[in-house]
Amino acid sequence: MKRQVTEGELVAYVGGMLDPGEAERVRAELSCSGSLRQQLAIVIATRQLAASVEAANDPPREARWHIPSPGAGITAFGVRAQVQAAVFGGSAGPADGVAAVVRPLGRFAVTLDPSAGDGWVIVLRERSDGWGVVFPPEKELALRASELPLRGRDRVVDLAVGVRPGDERWCVVVFDGEIDWTLGENERWEALKARLAKRQVPVASLRLRVLADDDDA
């Protein structure tokens, strides 16, 4: 039995992930095998289809929102609280990071366990131009976790998706610092952004899939 170069090895070879000696071996096998070269062409084509290659080298801008990937284990970063999402009136999502599939304007809830503390509850949503705070919109409407309705031992943040079909990303943070409402929109959240970047605040993000009206949930 002769071990052939596997498809996985070809993919790793094209991606530059093999040690130099193994890469040379694959190169040598390629030079001797027409069928392997055909396979290589397919691998390269698949790779090109998978996504664009060029890295965007965008210039620095103001500090960004660093939102964890949906499902990432936030308690891992020394934060005691984990925020959980519960969805009403939808179905469980497929296992690709989508928390749930919901109808337009469908409701969902994020629960805060007691260890999340009593900081300000900040809700963010991803828009076409990046993440932005959707709650609280102004100082008078800001809420601390303890002001939210109780469900058992947990506090509940009730939210609703929009009307457009497609994926929506949401994020809930409990911030125990102070918010300076005298500052403009860009500066007001700098302290929270810095803490969030270091994963020093209770946070969860989730992705929801909004169906078109005529789709089945």
């Binding site: 790793a12 991606g15 193994e22 040379e24 096998e29 060029e54 620095p60 990432a72």
Partner: protein, 544 residues
């Protein structure tokens, strides 16, 4: 390499091996030593002496078809269409399908095979690394140096600047792994759907992986060790050269205690206890750092001898997988020792390499690639913290009595043959398989001998298997490598008629405390094939 050169080289090596075998039989080692000189152990008399003793004490039992590879006459070859073969052409391939016409001296075969793989190791595991170049780009290298200084000072580097600098390499590495491991398109599209940028979900996820600190070892430290690994003529030399005396001591004791390494260390210092053996390894490397690479080569070659002592062994592909696994594990353990040593020394190592941006890009790419490749649940991206090269288990963590280890080995093989290798790895890593598979449950509940359960603990899945998990965490990779020849033999069986030959293969070494499979052999053949495919991948770095 021209075809005629290949033939002449091959014949010369075979002739030298035959002569050296006769000499060695008379107690003269010079010919064998000369033949094995590309192995690094050959330039250290103490290591070479261990190898010569092992050669005299071990008789290889290669299968008939592998005996012919070095010794079939020139006339038996078909001349290839291409005369000018690439230097890296797998030179064993030319002899495929030949048969040996006459009896072959096992020692000559062993010496020839060791000489062949010595050249391969030198070419592919050492010389090839010297061809790498890392471009210097002063602006990017400076930016990178500042970010590394932040990591070492605060355990955190400016998230925006880091992700802007490395979004591209992270994207490419993740893409390669997503395609190589055939993640579903939904996961691929989600992570690769946008152009690589500091803003993407993938960048966030990859940065969180660097922050995450399982067992106090955050991902950025692993990346730092991978940067250091690029700094020498080859990874092993670079890593050994970066260890301080304390690191050398840990590495020495690791070598004296871990799995088959303990056997190698015992051959070097039979009269000592484990601690003294560890000290001796440390002392030798302190005096002569090049000795460490000699030890890695000695261990690798001794593992080949052990494999070839099994009946019907000798498949060169199995040998190469063993070489890659052993060297990859040695690199992984050395990185783990470096990672847990002095941070100042690690920082100095990172800052000392030229082309820091290029090296960091490659190190980060390898880290992200392995992280995605080792993810057990391909329905979602890996979670932060899943990748950590384990440090050696100390002897106090080896939990079984010596007489129970064969039962643990047999049970592990049974699990693999029942198609449960992925679940086993998940269970070892996290204590859970993530599902409630009944076949796995039965393997734990009914096939596991009582001696392998924790004494005085309930034998439920959570509480009764801590010793077993601890043992597997340290030993699974080596146990799988040990079983490679048997798995390969089973994988070659025709599924419809696999039962009788399969049972014979299993009964050669099977602890009676574990139930021997009585049926399901077509599935066993398939499971062996899948396990081999998983273990034989050429990019395997660390089989934990």
């Amino acid at each position: 390499m021209r075809w005629t050169d290949f033939l002449e080289r091959r014949e010369r090596r075979a002739m030298d091996a035959s002569g050296a075998a006769v000499e060695l039989g008379r107690g003269e080692a010079a010919g064998a030593a000369s033949l094995l000189c590309p192995w690094r152990f050959a330039s250290h008399p103490d290591l070479l002496g261990v190898m010569m003793d092992a050669l005299r004490a071990t008789e290889s039992q290669p299968a008939h078809r592998w005996r012919a590879l070095p010794f079939a006459p020139r006339s038996a070859f078909k001349v290839p269409k291409v005369d000018d073969l690439p230097e890296f052409y797998h030179r064993r391939e030319a002899g495929w399908g030949l048969t040996a016409r006459s009896a072959v001296d096992p020692l000559a075969w062993t010496l020839e095979s060791l000489a062949f793989f010595a050249e391969e190791v030198d070419l592919r595991e050492r010389a090839a690394f010297t061809t790498r170049t890392f471009a210097t780009r002063p602006d990017r290298d400076d930016a990178c140096r500042k970010l590394w200084a932040e990591w070492f000072r605060t355990g955190f580097a400016d998230r925006d600047r880091w992700t802007r600098l490395f979004a591209g390499p992270v994207h490419e590495a993740a893409k390669t792994a997503l395609l190589a491991r055939k993640y579903p398109s939904s996961v691929r599209d989600r992570l690769l759907g946008s152009a690589p940028s500091a803003e993407s979900e993938l960048s966030e996820l990859a940065y969180d992986q660097l922050l995450f600190a399982p067992s106090d070892l955050p991902g950025w430290v692993d990346v730092a060790t991978r940067v250091v690994e690029t700094g020498g003529a080859n990874p092993v030399d670079a890593l050994v050269g970066s260890l301080d005396p304390a690191g050398l001591l840990v590495a020495g004791h690791c070598a004296a205690r871990r799995g088959h390494w303990a056997d190698t260390a015992a051959l070097l210092a039979e009269d000592c206890d484990l601690d003294r053996r560890g000290d001796r390894v440390r002392d030798q490397v302190s005096r002569d750092p090049a000795w460490a690479h000699g030890l890695v080569d000695l261990h690798t070659a001794l593992r080949l001898l052990t494999m070839w002592a099994l009946p019907n062994s000798g498949d060169p592909d199995d040998a190469w997988v063993s070489i890659r696994s052993n060297r990859g594990r040695a690199r992984g353990r050395l990185r783990a020792v470096l990672a847990r040593g002095s941070r100042d020394r690690l920082r100095d190592g990172v800052h000392s390499v030229p082309g820091l941006h290029a090296r960091t890009s490659q190190a980060l790419s390898r880290h992200v690639y392995r992280w995605f490749m080792d993810n057990d649940n391909q329905d979602s991206p890996p979670s932060p913290g899943q990748l950590a090269t384990p440090l050696c288990a100390s002897v106090s963590l080896v939990p079984f009595a010596a007489e129970d280890v064969p039962a643990a080995r047999t049970w592990t093989l049974l699990v693999v043959l029942r198609g449960q290798l992925d679940r086993l790895e998940r269970w070892v890593r996290s204590g859970s398989t993530g599902d409630r598979d009944t076949r796995w449950g039965e393997l734990l509940a009914t096939a596991l001998p009582p001696a392998l359960r924790d004494p005085g603990r309930p034998s439920d899945a959570e509480g009764g298997h801590r010793r077993l998990r601890s043992w597997l965490a340290a030993e699974l990779g080596m146990q799988l490598e040990r079983e490679l020849p048997r798995l390969a033999a089973i994988a070659r069986l025709p599924p419809d008629a696999a039962k009788m030959p399969g049972l014979r293969l299993l009964q050669r070494e099977w602890d009676a405390r574990v139930p021997l499979p009585s049926g399901g052999f077509p599935a066993i053949v398939e499971a062996a094939r899948l396990a081999l495919a998983k273990l034989g991948r050429a990019d395997a770095e660390e089989l934990t």
